[in-house]
């Protein structure tokens, strides 16, 4: 049998999966662990919809074999807040109309969350630079930048 057991922490809880070699973290999250908040927009690292945190670092889960995250801590959008208890960032997205079709939103929240952890008062330029790998075809990006600035203010 070529499938291997891989154990890691998912949103703070230990999980274990059986995966064939080179199965992506993205596919394991979405298909085995029910974490469909992480999306699959391109599966070649170009759209950012698969962004998660691995040991706190923003990572494109479509490019990472799940074996590579053995014993590490993975945080998905589900670990950043819920509909009942959204994070300040998620609330800002919701109230600021920073989401239209919504498909880019989990990736945007994931990268913005990593940004605000490191830089609690980012300029619009710094926000733009952080979002550079996340494609949005609906909003024209300005409402998203504004929501992140708004969230940063709420969090300070």
């Amino acid at each position: 049998m070529t499938a291997r057991a891989v154990g890691f922490a998912l949103n703070g809880e230990p999980v274990a999966v059986l995966a064939e070699p080179l199965t992506t973290l993205q596919s394991v999250l979405r298909e085995q662990l029910g974490m469909t908040g992480t999306k699959a927009g391109c599966r070649q690292g170009g759209c950012g919809t698969c962004t998660v945190h691995v040991d706190g670092e923003p990572t494109l889960s479509c490019l990472v074999p799940v074996e590579n995250v053995e014993d590490r801590a993975v945080t998905t959008i589900e670990g950043l807040g819920s509909p009942e208890e959204p994070s300040a960032l998620q609330a800002a997205f919701h109230e600021g109309f920073a989401t239209q079709c919504g498909f880019c939103s989990p990736g945007m929240v994931a990268i913005a969350s990593a940004l605000l952890e490191r830089n609690p008062d980012p300029s619009a330029e710094e926000i733009g630079e952080a979002l550079a790998g996340n494609v949005c075809r609906c909003t024209g990006i300005a409402p998203i930048v504004a929501a992140i600035e708004d969230a940063a203010e709420r969090m300070r």
Partner: protein
């Protein structure tokens, strides 16, 4: 009126209910849905832009572990995809799966179904196609020249509009007026095809139900449209299908072509298993339809005082290999090709041209946006050459209430002047008193 209630919706900001799910990743999109025993379907597509199909060999594909079944043209009950057949618009020229000929790179020839997505990719890659490549044409004017490779089955590379080779508008006598004009200004404007590139790829899941119906989760923008077209293609009564949708990860007109549902539903009926058919990013970018590219020639007869006395527009719209929405788009284009301006002599020819490129289809304002692009470049060109303020040129010619459009409808409820004035103010552009005094009810333009 005194006890009329104040508005409690209009004029206020309201929570957008879906946004909570979007921002927390709990909204379900098509690809987030999964069923037990679900299979994956992938397409076998033409690698070349124009070819005769001589054979399709599945023997190696069938040996891939996890292979379940395949579909070809023979399996499709009514193998015709005519997007607007529901409202009687022809022609019937595109197949759901190509049987004898392919006309664009990426045209689907067969489908393979397998237990896993990986097995489906592998099996699709192992299907052997015996194709006889044919000469191809990629340029709209080349496609209309004598001797061009013919794309369509009816022997010409253009759509026939009620017996004519193009959509035509004739108003006044543009050639004669041009001869009398002080000067002639021409322009050639070329667009590229534009890909919608939604962040969510096109896709659906078709799941057979115990009662004989099929549930189809789809990200189509046009759910009733997709259901009815699927029923026609599969030759089943519409009530056998239950389409679930409305959550679309970006469409912009690119998810109104009924492309994935018929074949996924057919495969589900054949195998008795749920079938997921989702485009890869590569398919989404190359195979799915685009906005059509136009080549637009504008010839204007203009007097030295800046009055446009004639406008002739010849436009070639690249439909690609099949019609889809383009013949309709060309009609819209023809109606708008002289612009929102009152010009006494207008002649418009819009050609719906077929080439061996990816079929173009609907995209945000299709037919009209292309016209605007060319027209406004042309207006700026006129303004530059005659040293007229570009605002003045437009406002003088803007249609007013009561003006007759080139297609002979009388303008009503015009707000073009007022909109331009508001835009100028917002943009901080100072307009002369004369311009600021204009309105949609004046007769500022000499006939």
């Amino acid at each position: 009126m005194s006890d009329a209630k104040p508005f409690d919706v209009i004029g206020r900001s309201h929570e957008r209910r879906e946004a909570r799910g979007h921002a927390t990743g709990s909204t379900l999109y098509v690809d987030d849905v999964s069923y037990p025993r679900m299979c994956h379907m992938k397409a076998v597509r033409s690698p070349v832009p124009h070819a005769r199909i001589r054979g399709v060999d599945f023997s190696e594909a069938e040996r891939v572990p996890g292979f379940v079944t395949h579909l070809t043209a023979d399996d499709v009950p009514k193998n015709v995809y005519t997007i607007l057949c529901l409202i009687g618009v022809e022609p019937d020229e595109e197949q759901v799966l190509a049987s004898e000929r392919v006309r664009y790179k990426g045209e689907p020839i067969a489908m393979v179904v397998a237990e896993t997505e990986e097995a489906a990719f592998e099996a699709a890659a192992k299907v052997k196609l015996d194709l006889e490549e044919l000469p191809a044409v990629f340029d709209v004017e080349e496609a209309l020249a004598p001797g061009a490779p013919i794309v369509t089955h009816w022997g010409s590379n253009y759509f026939v509009y009620e017996g004519h080779h193009c959509r035509r508008v004739r108003y006044g006598d543009a050639p004669a007026a041009r001869e009398q004009a002080d000067r002639v200004i021409t322009g050639r404007y070329q667009m590229s095809p534009i890909e919608h590139a939604p962040v969510e790829p096109t896709g659906c899941i078709a799941k057979p139900e115990a009662d004989g119906r099929v549930t189809v989760h789809t990200n189509t923008q046009a759910i009733f449209f997709s259901l009815d077209n699927t029923a026609i293609i599969l030759q089943v009564p519409p009530h056998k299908l239950r389409f679930v949708g409305g959550t679309v990860g970006g469409g912009f007109g690119g998810k109104v072509d009924v492309i994935v549902e018929p074949l996924a539903t057919l495969a589900a009926m054949r195998t008795g298993r749920p079938i997921k058919y989702v485009y890869t990013r590569q398919e989404e970018m190359q195979v799915s339809s685009t906005r059509s590219a136009n080549r637009i020639y504008i010839t204007d007869g203009i007097n030295d005082d800046g009055t446009i006395v004639s406008r002739e527009v010849t436009s070639y719209e690249d439909a690609g290999a099949y019609s889809r929405h383009t013949p309709y788009g060309c009609t819209k284009h023809a109606a708008n090709a002289a612009g929102p301006y009152t010009i006494p002599n207008v002649s418009i020819d819009v050609h719906c041209v077929y080439t061996n490129r990816t079929p173009s289809s609907a995209m945000r304002g299709f037919g009209v946006t292309e016209a605007s692009f060319a027209l406004e470049m042309q207006m700026d060109r006129i303004a530059r050459e005659l040293s007229i303020d570009p605002w003045e040129l437009r406002m003088r010619h803007a249609y007013r209430n009561g003006d007759e459009r080139p297609y002979r409808k009388t303008t009503e409820d015009a707000t073009l002047i007022e909109t331009m004035l508001a835009a100028a103010e917002l943009a901080g552009v100072e307009l002369s008193a004369d311009l600021r005094a204009m309105s949609s009810d004046d007769r500022g333009v000499p006939a």
